[in-house]
Structures are given as C-alpha cells and as structure tokens.
C-alpha cells in the first residue's frame, strides 16, 4: 500500500497518537476559538482590553474548559492530555485566552479542589466551572517573584478571624474575579485563603502599559486589613507546597499552550511565504526560508511529542515537577523562537497586528518568565541532574 502523503500541518503523524475523544475535545476548542475569539482578539490586543470577559467566561464554561481536568463539582473530569490539547488550541488563538483559562482552572479552582474544605468547594467550584464566577491566584508580589517563600503578605489571627495585609502583583483575572486565592505567611507557615473579592479592604487595580498579554486582565491586589473568618483558610495545606503544587498544574498547561502560539505563527509564515514573491518567485522557495521552516517545524513537533509524553505520564500519575520544568523550559523557549523566526519571514508585515505573529511573540515574552522563569526551570533541571541546589 502506498504511504499517505505527508500532512504539512502534522508531518510526524502525531495526530495518530490521540484517540477520538481527545480529538473531539481539540475540535470543540478549535472551533470555539475560530468562531468566537479569533475574529476579535487582535482588536482586543490593540486596545489592551478584554471587554466581554464575563460573556466569554460563560461561553467557555458552557463548553466545559474551566477546571476540565478536575472531578466533580460541575467539572468535566477530562484527562491531562485532553486538558493539554485544549490549552494548545486556546493559546493558538491568544496566550491571554489561555492564561484566563489556566488561572481559573489550574490555579484558583485547582487550589480549592485540592486543598479546600467541602464548604469552599461547594461554594465556588460549580460557579467557577460554569464561568459564572472568575477566580484569581495571588502569590507573586511587587518585590517577590522567583522566591515566593520570601513573601511579605501576611495573615494574623484575631480571635477566630484572620486579618490579611499585603500586596499581590501581576495577577491575571484580578479585577474581574469574584474570588481570589491569596497566599500569605502566618505564624504556622504559608497558608492559602479563599477571599471573596467584595470583602472590605480588598481592592484590585488593573496594570496598564503592558506590551504583552494585552488581551488579558492583569491586576494588582491590595489587601488592607481584610478580615476573614477561619473558614476562609484552605485547610488541607500548610507551607509553600500549596502554591507550588498549583503552579505545577498551570505550568503543565503552558507546556502545551506555548506550542499553540508557535503553530499559529508557523502557519502564518507558511501562508505568507507561499504568496509573497520576491525576485520573481515565492519566498517559500528560497533555501534560507525553507531552512527556517524546517527548523520551526522540527522544534514544534518535537515539542508536541514532549508535551504528549508528559501528558501521558500525568494521566498515569508518574509526572514529576522536574519533568514539567523540562517541558516548560523547552517548549516556551522554542515557541518564542518560532514566533520570532516567523516574524522575519513576514518582514515588515510581521510587526503588524494584521498578522498574528508579533502578538504571539510579544505574548510569549510573558510566558517565558511567568509560572517559573526559564532560569528557574533551568536550575531545577540542573539540580535534578547534579543533586546540587544552585539557588537555595
């Protein structure tokens, strides 16, 4: 039998490694993005806004992306691979959209699902899964990034209540959230708090002048004597293990998501190079351009195999945090390189919002450092290989 011709969109035939249900999840997200988000997202990016975030959240809730990999409480109970494919499609549209979903599902919902009380789960998870309530996750602070254990936000006991004070910075979904999962130091160690955002003393201010993730809400959280009942604390975890476990979840989504941005840019460059003529022929026919395409495709599809491998391990319960670091380090690094290379193929058009490449390249600048910088993931891998800790 003659071999089927190669599919330029899937040259390694990786699609054969997904089952029908996984492909169905991918199709749903792909179609949703194509119909509901992609036509608008460049405009949102240009204006630096997400004007219909609440309607968008309800629509995303209807298809079931929020907390899709969690069980019960209105969540879909999908596999890690299905979640990864959803992240990839979301980020193929825009990293801001994927960030909205990551923060909601992998950070805020996951924290409550994993470490929350039954009461907290009942109160928040069904509404969050439906997209009726948005959540945010407050760990990073103005002066605290890679070393979150040195956080300044603190909570003190006052009778049976807690009084929360501090600042959280670069918080996705901050000003549109109904609930914030806030991490603070206490006398017992770091604790997580489920903070309804209408609690007196809580304020969220949007961060402007961003050059990246412009179609995403990013805020500063201000906590001034926020009084919370004892039932607001996440009962099931004390210490940095809490927030770090959540971050590991979100990072896993980035391993897949970043490749979505890369895929869109590679496709845009292929389309452009096929019709752009210089010296009397399409630039896709020039050797230097083809070398770029070959390198981009090799890295994109290698990255996809890596993501899938990690996903299968996650579904099998054998995925280690160091392996997620491996995936995030490689896939974001390669994705941003692919987007930048695509930019060069589009020439001046590459910097225009008429094409998706500059938007994706700019977005990935954030993805490169959030949820653990490339440097931190490098050191995590370094420690895994040598047994020596370079940063603690």
């Amino acid at each position: 039998m003659a071999l089927a011709p190669i599919d330029p969109k899937d040259p390694l035939g990786i699609d054969d490694l997904f089952d029908a249900e996984e492909l169905a999840v991918r199709d749903t997200v792909r179609r949703f993005c194509a119909e509901r988000v992609t036509p608008h997202v460049a405009g949102w990016f240009e204006r630096g806004e997400l004007p219909t975030v609440r309607e968008l959240a309800v629509e995303l809730g209807r298809i079931g992306v929020f907390g899709m990999h969690l069980e019960g409480y209105g969540c879909a109970g999908a596999s890690a691979v299905q979640y990864g494919l959803a992240c990839l499609e979301l980020e193929a549209c825009d990293s801001g959209l994927r960030s909205l979903v990551s923060v909601q599902g992998s950070l805020a919902m996951y924290a409550i699902h994993r470490f929350g009380s039954e009461e907290q789960k009942q109160a928040w998870l069904p509404r969050m899964a439906a997209g009726e309530a948005l959540g945010c996750f407050g760990l990073t602070e103005p002066d605290v990034g890679s070393d979150p254990a040195s956080m300044r936000t603190h909570a003190k006991r006052d009778g049976s209540d807690w009084i929360l004070n501090g600042r959280k910075m670069w918080i996705t979904n901050g000003s549109v959230a109904s609930v914030a999962v806030v991490w603070a130091r206490t006398d017992e160690g770091v604790r997580g708090f489920v903070v309804p955002t209408d609690t007196p003393g809580f304020a969220a201010h949007d961060i402007h002048h961003k050059m990246s993730l412009r179609a995403s809400v990013t805020s500063e959280l201000v906590l001034d004597d926020v009084r919370l009942p004892d039932s607001a604390v996440l009962p099931e975890v004390v210490g940095m293990r809490g927030p770090l476990t959540c971050l590991n979840e979100a990072r896993y989504g980035i391993v897949w998501g970043s490749l979505g941005a890369a895929r869109t840019c590679l496709q845009a460059a292929l389309d452009y190079a096929a019709t752009r003529e210089q010296f009397g022929r399409p630039i896709a026919g020039f050797q230097l351009t083809q070398a770029k395409f070959a390198d981009m495709a090799v890295e994109l599809h290698k990255g996809l195999l890596l993501a899938l491998h990690l996903g299968r391990r996650k579904d099998a319960g054998t995925l280690r945090p160091e392996q997620v670091s491996f995936g995030k380090l490689n896939n974001v690094r390669e994705a941003i390189e692919i987007c930048r290379t695509a930019r060069t193929i589009l020439g001046a058009n590459g910097i225009s919002l008429e094409y998706p490449v500059m938007r994706h390249a700019a977005n990935l600048e954030s993805v490169l450092t959030y949820e653990g910088t490339s440097e931190m993931h490098t050191l995590v891998i370094g420690k895994a290989l040598t047994g020596l800790d370079a940063f603690r």
């Binding site: 029908a20 249900e21 209807r62 079931g64 109970g77």
Partner: protein, 259 residues
C-alpha cells in the same frame, strides 16, 4: 416520543476532495466528519427536547467503519443513542438506495419524528428526506427555517423566494431543516465524556432485511460518468482609465450581458 436524526459522514468540504475510478466518492485520501448541515438537524432535535417535549433522540447514519465518528460527535452534542448501518455492499449506493436503508432502519427503531439536514455537503443531495417520507408513508415538511413540536403536530416556517409558508404535519412525519434554524451548539467536554457511554448499535443489510441487490453501485439509478475539476480562475481583465475607463467598463459589462 421517538426522534430519529439522520446524519451523514462526509469528506471534509475544506479539503481537496475527489472521486474514485468508478465515480464514487474518494473517502481514503480525505478526512471525513459529521456533515455540517446535519448539525442543524441535531440542534433542532435537542431544542425540541429542551422545549419540554419528552423524547428519545436516536442518531442514524449509513456509512463506512469510520462513520461512527459522526455518531459520537452527535452524541457528544446530546441525545440518547445511535444506529450505524454498515455493510460492504452499501458502497456506491445512490439517494434512492440510501432512502431505502434509512427507512428500514427507522422502522426497526420506531419513530414519531424524523429530522434531516437540508442537504449533504458532499453530494449536495437534498432529496433524501422526501424519498424517505414516501417510503415510510408519512407526511414530509421540508426546508424548515423554524421548528416546533406541539400536541402530536410538527410545525414550521419555510421561507420561499416570494412567500413565507407556515406548514405543519401530524406525527409521525419527516422534516428537513435549513442552516437558518440557528447555530448548532459546540459539544461540551462533559458531553464528549458522556458520549463514550451512550449505546451505539451497528447493523448490516441482513439485520434490516435488505437484499444486497437493492443497493450499492450496481443498483444505483444515477451514476457519475465523469468528473472534471473546475478550471483554475483566470486573471481578470484590467481596465486602465485613460479618460474613457467608464466606457470600457460599460462595454465589458454589456459584452458579458451583465447590463
């Protein structure tokens, strides 16, 4: 009541589609999917149930092994179960033969309302619903833009070129719905997970009591003699305006009989 939605597994209309040497559709080299026009039929069935009509929704398809993909997709959108008629002897069956297979399968399943899309996106055939109604001996109400089921009657609106018709038929009946009935829903993830557990039954011609001579390419009343790809678009004529561009344009349009 029982609603049967007929769906078709078709080659992706956005791909480069072609024919086999015998004039039948080439299903090997192109990915196939649930016909987009049938998604409107599914949506209407789901909306009928959501409007409060108690009904079991069964999806029915006639197609090769992979056609279960179309049924799983439909089940992911909603509904209860599915029937897949699959038999090597079906290959090459035309609309008339398809309507026979569908009719037998629908009779075997039981039905009060049969809902079809307005046409298939591969063959462009829109006659099957009418043939099906004829074979079942029940009323047909085709090309509906709006559908409602009330008190044993299916009602709908049909937009014509010159008039809008309000039509209705007593159940059981066969209807077809257009792409103006309202956008089909996305299968939700919960729906996708649930679809896995919904019953999907496979049947062959024997099960339906159909003789293989009655269907297939050899029994088809219509054949594809030849297929030629549409020629590539030629470059348009460029009118350079040197003071009499308007005249040139008018001459061009008149020559092409546009004016």
């Amino acid at each position: 009541m029982k609603i049967v939605v007929c769906v078709k597994y078709v080659p992706d209309a956005t791909a480069d589609r072609g024919f086999n040497e015998d004039g039948t559709t080439d299903r090997e080299s192109v990915d196939s999917l649930l016909s987009e026009l049938d998604e409107y039929a599914i949506e209407q069935a789901l909306q009928i149930v959501e409007s409060g009509v108690e009904a079991e929704i069964t999806y029915l398809t006639v197609g090769p092994d992979d056609a279960t993909d179309a049924l799983r997709k439909a089940l992911a959108m909603g509904g209860d179960n599915a029937v897949h008629v699959n038999d090597d002897d079906i290959q090459g069956t035309d609309a008339l033969g398809t309507s026979l297979i569908l009719a037998k399968a629908i009779e075997a399943n039981g039905y009060d309302l049969v809902i079809c899309g307005m046409a298939s996106t591969d063959g462009g055939m829109g006659v099957v619903p009418a043939m099906l109604a004829e074979r079942l001996g029940v009323p047909q109400v085709t090309y509906l833009d709006e559908v409602k089921v009330e008190g044993g009657v299916v009602k709908g609106r049909r937009e014509g070129d010159t008039a809008t018709e309000q039509v209705e038929a007593s159940l059981p009946a066969v209807i077809s719905v257009t792409d103006r009935t309202g956008e089909a829903r996305f299968p939700s993830f919960k729906g996708i997970m649930a679809a896995r557990k919904k019953p999907l039954e496979s049947k062959d011609l024997d099960d339906l009591g159909i003789d293989s001579d009655e269907v297939g390419l050899s029994a088809a009343w219509s054949t594809v003699d030849a297929a030629t790809a549409r020629p590539a678009r030629t470059k348009g004529e460029v009118v350079t305006d040197e003071g009499e561009g308007g005249v040139q344009l008018a001459t061009f349009l008149a020559a092409k009989k546009f004016i």
